[in-house]
Symmetry: C2
């Protein structure tokens, strides 16, 4: 049960409701028959409709969830974030990714009173000018050729968000036209194989490399940056580096030391967490180079629209709040350890990996803000693939194995509609037939009686029964363009924040990534000594010693 609010009235009501449901086996077949209930659980905001009526939330439980939100002072916590309070308390930082997409004239102050929006637009203006120069051929490479291709080096938050947006816009007609054959590649993994993959078919003469690292010390990114510097220098000489490499970083000294011109650094700030950084220079530099600044500006506007909705709508009509409360109900009250993200749109193929990071790095925690231990697990395991692909993969388990709460996303219009003569429906309608069918299949299932009525042989009946009662939400959105994409990003970012607020955890730090780095340093040092001086493996446990010996043999 919920740890943060275990003594509140709403939390008690929810716990009682959850155990009553478990005992009475309340089925979604019954809940879905209550039209008044369903009506309340379909919420439309500016052409984006959330249907969460297939969540296992009885009509009388929804108000308790909203009460819980009040009891944890959800509105106050949103306000604290909006206004720059240092809610990332373990790092004493403001959390202001909404400032990254604010209108030029707005004001969001950080904890020291600085208007961050001014800083943001300073960098955006610089990116606009820079990206236009590169795109129109004013900025050229060492041999005078235009730079038509970009390799963006970064990992985690400096990679997953930008890649998600890049893929989502590849088939958007406006963005595609604006890209005009330019290429954008990402280099994330320190595995040298990834260098081969990222540079395949590229020529240093026409390639610009963007190195993205807040501290300019991230081990993977910096080794890849040095590898790409060598790739450029080898062909064009070391003097060419300044013309072929730029940086997104806050560490001017290290960037300059690396050989990148000070004027070619695009900054961001400590109130931007890596996984919330796609709207900063981290994403805007590579995306503006690829699609032009105007497309990226539309994307930022979309994110801003959702921020404004999140900051102002009442809880019962607030999409991120509702989705967050559903998430808390599923993870903490009904005890579901996973959730699936299922966009019925191939352009969103990298949405799930990005949100997997946003959510699991934010809410995969064991203690509350005050350091006390959570009494139950917080954030779930997030995974997903685009539909319909997933239907031919892991949906078997979702229908007849474990219960996995799911979020379906579909669009009214396709980015690339196809309609063949003689077909029953257009291709996009075929796709969407599945989008509408799957949530009902999960919710309603198929009983043994229904199987028998169809004449299924008795020995096969148990294998063909679907228990149903598997919860999901559906989001129906007009069309996947840059603006709607911004809304989707912001929606999922804020859902995670809402859940963290209810659990009382800090969704903006990530201390759990540190220990592995420390141990890797010890291994690296051993490998170096063993390779260079033949030193034997020492200081590790039995198993690690054996495996490293085998590796070095």
């Amino acid at each position: 049960m919920l740890a943060t609010a275990e003594k509140t009235k709403a939390a008690q009501s929810l716990a009682t409701a959850a155990s009553a449901m478990a005992q009475n086996e309340v089925h979604l077949r019954d809940l879905m028959a209550d039209e008044a209930r369903c009506m309340k659980m379909i919420v439309e905001v500016d052409g984006m409709t959330l249907d969460f009526s297939r969540q296992r939330i009885p009509a009388e439980v929804l108000p308790h969830l909203l009460d819980l939100w009040s009891e944890v002072d959800g509105a106050g916590k949103i306000q604290a974030m909006k206004s720059g309070m240092p809610i990332n308390s373990t790092e004493d930082r403001s959390v202001l990714h909404h400032a990254l997409r604010a209108a030029r004239e707005s004001v969001y102050r950080d904890k020291d009173g600085v208007n961050t929006v001014e800083l943001v637009w300073g960098v955006l203006d610089k990116i606009k000018a820079f990206s236009e120069k590169v795109r129109n051929g004013e900025w050229v490479g060492a041999t005078g050729k235009a730079l038509t291709d970009v390799v963006a080096i970064g990992i985690g938050g400096s990679y997953l968000g930008p890649e998600f947006i890049y893929e989502a816009l590849r088939t958007d007609k406006t963005a595609r036209e604006s890209a005009g054959g330019r290429r954008l590649r990402f280099l994330a993994n320190v595995d040298p194989i990834d260098v081969t993959r990222a540079t395949e078919g590229l020529d240093p003469e026409t390639t610009l490399v963007v190195v993205v690292s807040k501290t300019f010390t991230t081990a993977e990114t910096m080794l890849n940056a040095r590898t790409m510097r060598e790739w450029i220098s080898k062909k064009l000489g070391s003097d060419s580096v300044a013309k072929h490499m730029v940086a997104v970083s806050t560490n001017t000294e290290k960037v300059v030391e690396f050989g990148i011109g000070q004027e070619n650094i695009f900054g961001f700030w400590n109130w931007v967490g890596g996984r919330y950084s796609v709207c900063s220079a981290v994403g805007v530099v590579p995306l503006a180079l690829q699609y032009g600044f105007e497309v990226v500006a539309d994307f930022l506007s979309g994110a801003r629209a959702m921020d404004d909705h999140f900051f102002s709508a009442p809880a019962e009509a607030n999409l991120p709040v509702l989705m967050g409360l559903v998430g808390v109900w599923n993870a903490s009250y009904l005890g579901f350890p996973t959730r699936a993200l299922l966009p019925y749109c191939q352009a969103l193929l990298k949405l799930a990996p990005h949100i997997q990071q946003v959510d699991m790095e934010s809410n995969g925690k064991r203690v509350k803000v005050d350091g006390s231990e959570l009494q139950s697990d917080a954030g779930p395991v997030n995974f997903g693939e685009p539909g319909t692909n997933g239907q031919h993969s892991f949906y078997q388990l979702m229908h007849q194995g474990r219960v996995v709460p799911a979020d379906f996303i579909g669009f009214k219009e396709s980015q690339q509609p196809v309609e063949l003569e003689g077909e029953v429906v257009a291709n996009h309608d075929e796709l969407m037939s599945n989008f509408f069918a799957q949530p009902d299949a999960l919710a309603f299932g198929k009983t043994a009686e229904e199987c028998r009525a169809q004449g299924i042989p008795e020995n096969l009946v148990p294998h063909k029964v679907f228990t149903g009662n598997r919860p999901s939400s559906s989001l129906l959105i007009t069309k996947l363009d840059a603006f709607q994409l911004g809304r989707i990003l912001s929606l999922f970012e804020h859902r995670t924040a809402v859940e963290g607020f209810v659990w009382g955890i800090n969704s903006f730090d990530q201390w759990g990534v540190e220990l592995g780095k420390v141990l890797a340093t010890q291994v690296r040092s051993q490998l170096s000594k063993s390779r260079k001086e033949g030193a034997s493996v020492s200081g590790f446990n039995y198993s690690t010693t054996k495996m490293m010996q085998s590796y070095l043999a």
Copy 2:
């Protein structure tokens, strides 16, 4: 606890051990200190080393797991599969994917006594001849040009396996050289966006389309096949289809009706399940076109080597059996609902999506072979991304949130080694430093005392504590080439089978995918009537009606 064997002695011992562990909080720090135990849990087979000493399996429990395997007659079940008994009982089919990679002279008979290996080699010989003709330019397109590019249309098992192998070999030096600039694309999703993505930069004149569908009725694949037929016909005329399209299917009639020549059908058989079909024509046709038949033959040999090991090694030295028993222990006794697959190799970026399908579609079941209900959940949710990328994403949760048993994979040599002058280690060693460090970070963690000893301020200590005791296995393999890739595929296929054998489920059917298809038909029909005749939405529940009305508006 384990349902299938709940009354056996070993199952009782395991249940007792699991609850004792939970009570005494046996920690991996203690288990890892027992060198004799660790020694038994590191098993090497032909240059592939499995270290499962970081599983939460006390020394005295391992024999009980092996006893459980005996009690469910695991060896007998393997033998039944090997010898073609119809162990896919709900479909009355043999399960013989090992025959797909058998040596020409071996004999594997199906349930009707037919030697399947003869059939397999008949098709392999045909693929070899065909792929050579296409690759050497003897087979040309309608305008006389060589076909240098291939689009393989298929979904689920007809897509994930081939894509996994394609990506894994892209940076293998032999395969890469043999590809010589040829291109292979996959078209899976029925979303028309995927057509745009798959055909980007391709010309029908130089493109061969391979349509992969066992029944030639898969909705997504057939609509995509018709869409690609139109793409070809529009430019080259409808007569050109026979020169630009071939099929992998068992339904000759439908293929010919579609317009593909009968001689251009590559067959497979009902004893090949979709998710186990990458070694059949499903994978071999596109992969032989891309990399040449010899490379694919090496891949098949590797799979065969692991099959032979699986069929002959004693349980305590049998890699798939050991990994399967670990899986059952984690899912059924320790109750972990998920598991992560973490290859430290960017070329394996599609391993996790493929194994996600293999495992979740096989073991995401609710009933046993005999139709009785399982008393607990069976197969877990599988997910994963390559390391080190995952470290900057969901590892936060794995270290400080929920417990996620993990499988790490690393290689002694890189496909694409890079060593820069002046670096502490080569890039591959940098990657592998993380491979060796993460399992220990998960297992050992970091105590509050250790934090305090480092001078971490008291208020931050709880945030920087790692509880550890998080289980994982590590696989260290020589090098990722076609042969080792085959071994890896077969290892994970058989792990899933082992788990299914212990649970007593049928890992080879997939009835859970049917209901969604039926409901999609109903939606498709409604969308067609609404679009073409303006029919109003009827016959759906309130929520679906509202959402479909919004979609159609």
